[in-house]
Symmetry: C2
Subunit: 147 residues, 2 copies
Amino acid sequence: MSARVRYRGGFRWDGVAVEGYKPEGSHFRDVSRQVLFGGEGPRELRYFEVEPGGWTTLERHQHVHEVMTLRGRGRALVGEEIVELCPYDLVRVPPMTWHQFHAGDDEPLGFLCLVDRERDRPQRPSEAELADLQRNPAVAELIRGRA
Amino acid sequence: MSARVRYRGGFRWDGVAVEGYKPEGSHFRDVSRQVLFGGEGPRELRYFEVEPGGWTTLERHQHVHEVMTLRGRGRALVGEEIVELCPYDLVRVPPMTWHQFHAGDDEPLGFLCLVDRERDRPQRPSEAELADLQRNPAVAELIRGRA
């Protein structure tokens, strides 16, 4: 087996399966996942792609996300902050911080996301937590219909 | 502090220092290092850039390298394998495997490299180990004057 996994173009890699983001749910839209490094060792490096107009689940967890945008543009909610994302921008999601990634309307958003291999399950916001988040008008606007 | 670190262009990031590859030595040439994620948590994500004609140290260690090329072209020695590298190609360097990264003659080679934050010190080859590596003519050619 070669030490190298070749990039095939189009953000696809030889022998790397393009998987669904999560098995089921209506709390995300148009997201795919590819595991680039994982299976052995303490961490996983995944490549996620959010199609134009799509978004990931609004969630939080104890484990940290370390993210590098690779493709396209979009926005991320991290705590109460909304950041614009361009290729090679870095984002760190601290423990127990609400977060969600959104592609632009006309562009996909592709990003690397680094996590512990053994990690806690994500939590979704309760009604009360959602109401709390929505007190910030910019956050309310971003997550409307997407939480 | 923002959750985001902005990419500034030219493979430089806001607030990320461009450091020397190693404090000293003549066993590498024209390599810089930037730590993109580190300081807390169990891992570090670094961006290395090897200038045209440059190379990293020929070494091995117990900790694993997980690499994604981002910029330019080059070659890597991993064990007895020599692989060509293009942007987004992936390379995994297993434990105790000799390895070295080379930029092309006319192009830099920039790559992400993921490691444990706590890791063992690299070993350089002894004369006997070097002679053993050089039994493979392609490897001997690649590392000539660079080991």
